[in-house]
Symmetry: C2
């Protein structure tokens, strides 16, 4: 006798790298009955059907969510509010909604504005996974294997909704961790949002030099790794900057002050300070990874 | 009848990642008769003999260079001057000397100070290769395959010496390019020295936060790639900062101004400016690499 899947009907709004990979993973595990896709790019949705990532799609999210027991809003942060506004009146009773936004404070604020309160069946979430690629073509079922998913449930969040979303991500292969909203946004500002700002800025700085062609020609292997994240989706990262403005600016200021301090050490030939900085950083990096 | 190897006796001072890999490559190609190692770390030199990277070693570089037709000084930039001072009186007549330093202006200045002029048989060089690892254990014969080596010969450099070093690197698998000293240092400040400063500073900034353990726990794949170069040898990079001070400071200032401009755009909610920056950077990065 077949066991019941965790989710009878899953609606994924934004069938890109994250939404598509989650759909693939749940499908592979047999943990979902039907998958309905939605999103603004119909060509991408057609590809999602062709690839078997979703069973069907509706470009109108309000129609796509009808009868779904779980709705995953996997659109860029700036599109979460309009999508939620569109779907809320059409959600099935008891439907659980989650998102995958890289900042959580702005999403919780969006939700509060739309509902006038924090609804029990909304679970803010953020899978710490992804590549610099985007679109359903880039999705794959093992994206979340051994990756962390952070959920930031609120006081108002129903335990049942929280547990369902936790279980969903675990079935996709992830380790699920709970965290406070502000703390999540601070941690991500440091480990993800700031590095992306540095990579984008570095490539842009060099690209605007007069001898940029010459300069890029001599970039070695380290440069390739270092700048990979500068190939990430500009719109998605624009939205993250806007959504996590305060904490990101704080991290940029911290980093800027430290870079200025290093520059001063180089300028003043303070060799001990230069060496100290590099040694501390190498120790921290080596403790973190074995590669 | 066996053809004569390019180099009868090669002396490598500093048998680390670069010196060791060059020795391995030339040995594999049968283009070197005997390889003599030297350096400050006798344990590393013993390992080099054990691994077959060098035939023998002498911790005293003045003795190690005796009878060598090519001497490769593969020590950190700060050690080049004392090494050159030690070996110059003991070089065989006609011996060609080259280095592998990541900055060339300081090396040429060192050479000028030691000789009182630029000698015809010194060829400043810089292989654009390496990993974040160091020591002879990390060396491998294919390190220079399809990598670029920049030579910065001077007006005084003998064509024969230049051609010999060019041929040596080509036999190790590299593409050899000539460049002016200042131009080399500007290009490297942009593509290599600045990114290392950013990676070291980022890791150090995060490592000094109160919740650093927590923060590093949530670092994703992008962070690993982005910070890999922060595992590079702190002493080597200290020397590079000192050697290429002027051009590095110029690049840090350019970058810092651009980062401040991005921060201002985020602060002022100038969404067009944010998006422009990211789009320009992504285009430049995508044009550069296909990964």
């Amino acid at each position: 006798m077949a066991t019941r899947p965790l989710i009878r009907r899953l609606c994924v709004i934004g069938v890109g790298l994250i939404g598509g990979s989650l759909a693939r993973a749940l499908r592979e595990r047999g943990e979902v009955g039907e998958i309905v896709g939605s999103g603004r790019n119909e060509e991408n949705l057609r590809a999602a059907v062709r690839l078997g990532v979703v069973d069907r799609y509706d470009v109108d999210p309000a129609r796509a969510v009808i009868g779904a027991d779980v709705v995953v809003v996997a659109v860029p942060l700036g599109a979460i509010e309009p999508v939620l506004r569109a779907i809320v009146p059409h959600l099935a009773s008891g439907a659980v909604v989650t998102d995958v936004g890289s900042a959580k404070g702005s999403v919780v604020a969006d939700v509060g504005r739309i509902y006038g309160h924090i609804p029990p069946n909304f679970v803010p979430g953020h899978p710490i996974a992804g590549t610099e690629k985007s679109g359903v073509d880039a999705s794959f079922s093992t994206l979340f294997q051994k990756r962390r998913v952070i959920l930031t449930p609120l006081a108002e969040t129903a335990a049942s909704a929280h547990q369902l979303i936790k279980r969903m991500w675990e079935l996709a292969g992830a380790e699920v961790i709970d965290m406070g909203v502000r703390h999540h946004d601070a941690v991500l500002a440091a480990t993800s949002h700031l590095p992306h700002m540095l990579a984008y800025t570095l490539v842009d700085t060099l690209a605007r030099l007069d001898d940029r062609a010459e300069i890029f020609r001599y970039a070695a292997g380290g440069f390739r790794d270092f700048t990979r994240i500068a190939s990430s989706d500009p719109c998605m990262w624009h939205d993250i900057c806007v959504a996590n403005r305060e904490q990101l600016l704080e991290m940029i200021a911290l980093f800027g002050a430290d870079l200025e301090r290093l520059a001063a050490a180089i300028r003043n030939d303070d060799r001990a300070a230069i060496l100290d900085t590099f040694q501390r950083a190498k120790r921290a990096r080596d403790n973190l990874y074995l590669d």
